[in-house]
Amino acid sequence: MLDVMSVGETNSFSSPRNPLRTFAVVVALSAALAAGSAASAAGAPAGQDMSGVWWATAYSPKIPIVGGGDLPYTAAGKAAYDKNIAGLKSGELIDAARRFCVPDGIPRILATPYPFEIIHTPGQTTMIYELNHAIRVVAMDKPMPKDEELIPYPYYDGHSVGHWEGDTLVLETAGFNEKTFLDSTGAPHSDSMRTTERLRKIGANQLEDVVTVHDPEMFTRDWSARFVYQQRNDVRLQDYVCGEKHRDISSVRGVKGR
């Protein structure tokens, strides 16, 4: 408020009609606003804010391993993959994420052709996916729970902890169940899989997520896949209910007519 002036005060510094005071107030307010926009989410350091809605511009049913090609399966992994492919083809194995809208799991959800939103709150990063209305809750700056804490609670999306390394958000996830595929072709994983994601803003309006999968039961080595998203703060997440109509995603390259 600029007009705090007692009755009887004359044209002193506190008077709003003093141009020097007005100038000083304007300068102070501008400085405060500039500092505020640089600090962004909840007073976080500059560069540590991925809040907003993100949406991929391309989709692939097969997980895009860095370097291309097939995943480096062990014998057990290859056998499991062949079994999944055969089961999906015959109908004996159902893609539950698509039929019953249970969560896709990690890393399959990273390929989603639907938008998602990242929200930062003190101590937690939350990712809300329009697909299946899945929610990932990431405890920030906390240690990964021990195996004995994870074993009784195997989650579709695993249990995630995160921390910042400069401008990179690092997410570690473990404690998965075996009810999800790695991608839409039915690629398998075991419940001892652990994933690490490195999220980083690139360019003016893009976010990349490089996920590394560690699952020695299924794969001969760790491997990574990279996903890129466009910032779309013009978009709000919609309802998503199994069996009902969803938003038009035909603009996403690689999506077959849905």
């Binding site: 159902i94 539950a96 039929r99 004995e148 074993i151 195997p154 419940d191």
Partner: protein
């Protein structure tokens, strides 16, 4: 989870799952009786509030019939060394249960012998409210 067509098996599961969500008493099981089931694991459900073993046991005519065995919660089982894959579909096991008093195909878990001979639980134990945590 592999979903198959819901048939009699699905209904049997429902019958045994519904009481589990009410804080039920273990009086439905005959604490004075022990029954041994030899069969093949159909499914092991690692869930709260109670885990379940679904096991196909041949009847007198040699036809497989499904039995449902109720255990404790995963937290207690994990402390006894159980993991979700301790029992997997197709495993041939021997289970010891306190059978349901009404004679239907179910019981309270006492012990199970795995294909490699490992015995989990206590086949001689008395019934208690913490089924599966002995």
């Amino acid at each position: 989870m592999k979903f198959k067509a819901l048939g009699l098996a699905g209904i049997a599961i429902a019958m045994y799952t519904i009481p589990a969500f009410a804080h039920h008493s273990f009086a439905m099981f005959d604490a004075d009786k022990k029954m041994t089931l030899e069969g093949t694991i159909k499914e092991f459900q690692w869930t709260n509030p109670h885990s379940w073993i679904l096991i196909n046991v041949p009847n007198a005519a040699g036809q497989p019939e499904q039995w449902a065995i109720e255990l404790g919660a995963p937290g207690g089982l994990a402390r006894q060394g159980w993991v979700p894959k301790t029992l997997t579909p197709g495993m041939k096991v021997t289970a010891v249960i306190h059978p349901l008093k009404d004679g239907t195909h179910g019981g309270q878990y006492m012990a199970v012998t795995l294909p490699d001979g490992t015995v989990k639980g206590n086949p001689n134990g008395a019934a208690n409210a913490n089924a599966g945590a002995n």
